[in-house]
Symmetry: C3
Subunit: 422 residues, 3 copies
């Protein structure tokens, strides 16, 4: 149900709503509740930008695939017979049937079960039963989807002309990610959570930690309590914690410098199609990983790392993902809209391919912090969704700690404007 | 699904449908089935009139609250720290989160769980974390909703300019209600029933007893079987019942006159924004209450009443409520639309605050008649909803006993016209 | 959810989509997924053509009825007090309530449970409580629906002016159906399957057997494996099967000629309002019935038949039905849209009225082939529905064996054009 007290005509005036968006404030209700904006978001954002969908660790062998629903699209991400990661539309060229029905699996060829049209793993149509003279198989291969892997993170773009600035972003984030060698990891756990909120509320929630102190007791175990304060605004009671933070940060930077790992913040979350933010930061507690005590959750370190105290390499990507690379594991997040008020959040935990479950890592310990944090966030955004659809809702001002929320919304508005002027 | 055989354009021509409504006949299908009319009803009726939502007995102490959903709105009805009944929009002024999530409870302050914005019980913003310089807390109090209590019946109006004729109505019904002293009662039982019909079918069903004889065996135990007949049309077989009715009525009027209680019918169900109807009438059987045998269901009489034989004081209110005040208990009904074809009917039974459950009253006996009657009505209106969406449906004529249905519909059409011309 | 990547305006341009339909190819996505086309299909196809809904065996006695939902309509099909099959709208003429609530049953009169309006089995209003002077009961009979029975197959048409060519079709198919004497059968089993696909995908699936070889192992037990091949294209490996087919066909034709039963193909699936196709064909295996081994499933032959080897008399009817008449039983199929992506398929198995369950026939054996085939088809069309709503879907070409699919689609497009020009 859309915001009923507003006339439908106003609710559907997406261009007007985009034009009058007030910087520094949350979006107006129709952005979060109307089917018109869901359709616009799918067309202008999800169909035209690079979307994170999976990792190479999920398709390790030729023939391995995952299927990903991006709105009404189903995309097959698979490793083809030449060991290349490839993405294909999961739609038979005959009468449109889905070809693969499972979320993940392994195939020899891609065979449509309806009339046995058979495609090779690169999408070429090999067999199609009896056809009329003049039928040209080469015209009926599966449609290709643009795909890129950055250090094992797989991004797809549904557009024919994907944003060209992705190469630049890939080049700049690669040195940050490389030491963790994602391509030598395996999936230790994966969790799909359906949050009852618009995808943008899910992203906005991720882009600030104003709600963390009261809302995320597990996550904040490894956050310095000065998080969010400017250096000259630290309250007196937090000065000891601030010293701890400065010391841990110096140590992390020394270790990185010694190994040639970059750590400085790059924040280009808006102002470009492929908005991103990357930084390596120290963790509080034992300083090793996202666990309650901050100790590593897996005994086998990633890549060639020789210390678990590498802090967290955090990468944020517009429009739909974020990532934390720790010394012992990687956790990835993808956000995909299911409806105006329902969103899939997929969380994947990766450990070294040689790590043995029950010996080197305990999945419950590995996943605890983000499992709890996701559940808490799911409750927060569901309550926000219920509220923003109330006709009494009016967008409030963002606090100084909500800068990256503002950046996300600013990026989103830029993209809608760019789409309108295309 | 809307009425599919009609073109969408016609279905959406709400103004044309309002203009051509045939007096004395049921409404055309789109009024009951289309999302356009649901939106219009919420905007023109539920957002602009006084809506009954709760009783003071539900919020006896400072900090006690109930939350009420009126279409997409959530309204907090609470008793503030000054013991006043107050109504607030349940929407945080920061990023719109719902503040209260339960249907009822008790609070000290109103704290939004998302970022800990904290409001006092009168809606004032007290704390809002770190904010930018220039942030003015006084601009971000919870939005107020107009609220009035008439002898403990709580009405809210979502409009900035509520109908002014409410004061007149309140003044005229107060003497009818006052002897029952609702403010000294407590809630003995409450039942929420979701009926699968448009809210107007629910109201129309309530506004006639043509269907009672065959449809409500429990309710009609205390109805004189001459109900619905004009005095000069009583069938011969019902003459004894008619004598009984006349005698009971004379007795009731004598008792009322002796105590200064008004009983005469006032019926202004249409022709004004705050349509209402009030009357005290005799009951058949023991004549005391809405029970199978007509005897009181609670041993403690309400207020200062000295006899249970006070008949039923029945109050009907446009657009969404009706009430029966008996000597021993009060029963209130509120009707709130959930969707074009789904409606919440909340029934609340109130007894004297000193009555002890299991000693002075048995909840099963107290609620039996209206519990059964509600269930029967729920089935009737669901079957009507299924029928009116059939393209073969054409509005039939109201019978002479359906006068108050016609009044309800006439009031409704008046309100839509007034809204269109505002 | 409709096809989100397309602008709504394009999706709703039903006329443009009809006009540009490419012959020999599947329909574009909006035909299968949009609510606009569902509404158009109900208005242009289901409300204006003869729709198969039931058999006379389902209403054997006066007062017996079935209720059938055709989109938002509910139609009562009953045998009236004069033993005639009659169809009435299931909508009370007072305030629109449904009168009958069960899928099937038996009544004396038709009594609306809401206010006791009472109609005779021919729809005449007999009683309506107290009414105002001038109320004319003869104006408020139940609305009639056009109805025809062809050898016991009951068709209704919701239009005031049903297609006139039905008489011609009835006359031409009657000699094919007559030997099986449906009116002397009884219902042995009935199965309602909700398929998660548009009704046209359900029909298209029925109109080809390209998918049978891999998809329907039970059904193809009695199909000659040369099905779908032209006589001059039989692969060498199938020549023995082809000889078997030719021999069985000759035998069937001799037997039919001896009894005066027609068997030749009449195929007029498009080019007329009442499109149809009828033919008697030989079965492989024992050649008697739709069972795994081809033997009769009921020991009592239908009508006056003296041999079970009568092959299958197959009748296809636009828009919503098909039928197989065997020597020992009849199976009928009706297809009714529930939503753009949900369709009811009702399958009814009829055996001789004298056949005794458990003695003359085993319901599990009787229903096995089509129960399995329906379930398989339900899965196929659900996967097609998921695919055609994908923006990557583009209609592919029909194969030579999909001629009757093309005929169905061509008929459908003709009907939409005729409706637009009415």
């Amino acid at each position: 149900m859309t915001a009923l007290a507003e006339p439908a005509s106003e609710r559907r005036d997406t261009a007007g709503l985009v034009a009058r968006r007030l910087p520094g404030h949350a979006l107006e209700a129709p952005f979060y509740v109307s089917d018109e904006f869901l359709a616009l978001d799918l067309a202008a954002v999800f169909s035209r930008h690079w979307i994170f969908v999976a990792t190479e660790a999920e398709v390790p062998e030729a023939g391995d695939y995952v299927t990903i629903d991006v709105g009404p699209y189903s995309v097959i991400v698979l490793r083809d017979d030449d060991e290349q990661v490839r993405a294909l539309h999961n739609v038979c060229r005959h009468r449109g049937s889905r070809i693969l029905h499972d979320a993940a699996g392994s195939v020899g060829n891609l065979v449509c079960g309806y009339h046995q049209w058979t495609y090779s793993t690169d999408g070429t149509l090999m067999h199609a039963g009896q056809q009329a003279p003049g039928f040209d198989k080469s015209c009926f291969g599966l449609k290709q989807v643009a795909v890129r892997s950055v250090e094992g993170l797989i991004f797809v773009c549904l557009a024919a002309d994907p944003p060209a600035d992705f190469d630049d972003v890939a080049a700049r984030i690669t040195p940050y990610l490389a030491p963790h060698q994602l391509r030598t990891t395996k999936v230790a756990a994966q969790e799909d959570l359906i949050e009852h909120a618009n995808w943008k509320l899910v992203m906005e929630n991720n882009r600030e930690c104003y709600h963390c102190e009261a809302g995320h007791p597990e996550l904040t175990c490894t956050f310095f309590p000065t998080y969010g304060y400017a250096d000259d605004e630290i309250p007196k009671r937090l000065l000891p914690a601030h010293s701890r933070y400065l010391e841990a940060t110096s140590e992390l930077e020394r270790e990185c410098d010694a190994r040639g790992f970059p750590y400085a913040l790059i924040s280009e979350l808006s102002g470009r199609p492929t908005g991103f933010r990357v930084r390596r930061e120290a963790l509080d507690g034992a300083g090793e990983s996202y666990t309650r005590d901050g100790r590593a959750a897996s005994r086998i370190l990633l890549g060639d790392l020789d210390t678990p105290r590498m802090g967290r390499l955090s990468l944020h990507f517009q429009p739909n993902s974020w990532f934390h690379f720790l010394g012992d594991h990687i956790v990835t997040f993808s956000v995909l809209p299911l409806a105006a008020d329902r969103t899939l959040v997929r969380t994947t935990w990766l450990v070294h391919a040689d790590a043995v479950e029950g010996v080197d890592y305990d999945p419950a310990t590995l996943t605890e912090v983000w499992h709890q944090t996701n559940a808490q966030d799911g409750a927060f955004v569901a309550r926000a969704q219920a509220g923003v659809r109330d006709p009494a809702y009016s967008p409030g001002p963002y606090a100084p700690t909500e800068t990256d929320v503002e950046e996300f919304v600013a990026w989103y508005i830029e993209r809608l404007k760019e789409y309108a002027n295309r």
